[in-house]
Symmetry: C2
Subunit: 246 residues, 2 copies
DNA sequence: GCGGCGATTATGTATATACATATTGAAACA
DNA sequence: TGTTTCAATATGTATATACATAATCGCCGC
């Protein structure tokens, strides 16, 4: 008689999820090392007394999550992750400031509409020299400047932006509400504050800053490029990784 | 970069995947705006002339990916993402250096075994005052220092580390090969180089640096805490987001 | 030996079916 | 009018079944 008798002591997990967490537990705890062949579907079917479909669903999910690799005719094997991947959450600045318990304030510093120059096209990864909107803003946490924002919006992709002054609403939330983004790329680095940034953030020139640049596409079209600069003390990005398992 | 929505004519998509990409396409293109109720399973069943199970599998996957929200009795709705989430890939430093086309070199600076102090316990999120291994290393790209590493290893979780000198192999890959990690947390920020870091990275004190701190757990036990410090010019983190779609 | 060719086997995908569960809306009732 | 109850409905989960596909093994003939 095998080990089936484990009565659900607590929350009612679906069978499918129990199989899933059982197996990932065994993998993550090292009981099944990388390369180890995990039981065949029909064996798990016997172990959990369920149909192959249920086992298959769980194993397929583990495969999609990258924990195991499935090979026809030979079975499923524990994979070693190639590179650590972590989920970086990037919230709206207002949310971040309010999470600190400080009052948020937004300020539009400058706004220019222009035909895109070489630099604009490089930043947006734009082909044509269509019109862009260039914005400069500041975000405050209480009295202190929290972040400086420098943004380009591709007016070919978001025509409505041309008639928005961005006095009251920050371009980030404005865009999010209007343009569904399909892809984004972030670049994160440290820089020394130049005179412009130093003045905007009320810090000394040369002080370390965290820069987050984001490029966003919507259905293949470049939408916006934005560079946020934070004074070093004011901001930490957090990224977490926990393997799949819903 | 590869984007969704690119119609791959030619390869045989499974029905399940066709439904999946059809729907995410309609969501991401804005055809179905946030809040929009997408067709009921039985309607999609008719549209794609397939069983409810197939439709259900696709919709469940979209729900797990966060693109839609499913509510019993009322239907499935297009969700607005609350926060942008991006996948941050964190490679081994050797890989990063070699990707730059530069020769990689590793140097162990210091190694101390000790009973964990208050600071160690805070960094590792450790309860007891068990033994830890403290390491300091440098990673070189060509002639120049590329990163400074300061690491704590919880010897209660990884006893073998006590007998490893880490002269030849860097602790990162050594751990990866031995300890399956089940969770990790990254904190990214900018700092000014202190005297120690400045000397280690051969930069001036006060120069901006990018700091990546990572805490790793294996099956609930803290394994290691590591702080990588990069000179500002030398390193940029890249994070991408492309909505699910398997 | 050695190369090709089925048979076997494990996974991949899809189907029809069944029942569980949560939620809504309306009917029944106090 | 307010509350309780109940049936309708959409999703959640599981089953048995079927056939497709890919990879491996072993047999066979040369």
């Amino acid at each position: 008689m095998s080990m089936i008798g484990t009565m659900d002591v607590g929350e009612p997990l679906s069978l499918h999820q129990r199989i899933l967490s059982d197996i990932s537990e065994r993998i993550l705890s090292g009981t099944w090392a990388p390369g180890h062949r995990i039981p065949f579907e029909h064996e798990l079917t016997a172990e959990y007394k369920c149909s192959r479909m249920t086992v298959n669903k769980a194993l397929s999910q583990l495969a999609k999550a990258g924990l195991i690799e499935r090979r026809r005719r030979t079975g499923s094997f524990v994979r070693r992750p190639q590179s650590q991947a972590a989920v970086l959450e990037i919230h709206d600045i207002r949310i971040e400031v309010e999470a600190l318990g400080l009052p948020y304030r937004y300020e539009r510093v400058a706004r220019h509409k222009r035909r895109s120059g070489a630099e604009d096209r490089a930043l947006l990864e734009l082909d044509s020299n269509g019109p862009v909107l260039a914005l400069e803003c500041r975000h405050f946490a209480g009295q202190r400047p929290f972040a400086h924002e420098r943004r380009l919006i591709n007016l070919a992709a978001v025509a409505e932006a041309a008639s928005e002054e961005f006095f009251a609403v920050a371009p980030g939330p404005w865009l999010i509400a209007r343009v569904p983004w399909s892809a984004a790329e972030h670049r994160i680095r440290a820089v020394a504050a130049d005179r412009n940034i130093a003045a905007a953030l009320d810090i000394e020139a040369g002080a370390p800053c965290l820069v987050v640049e984001r490029r966003t596409w919507s259905a293949e079209h470049p939408v916006t490029h934005v560079r946020f600069t934070y004074a070093a003390e004011s901001h930490t990005l957090v990224a977490r990784f926990t393997p799949s398992q819903g």
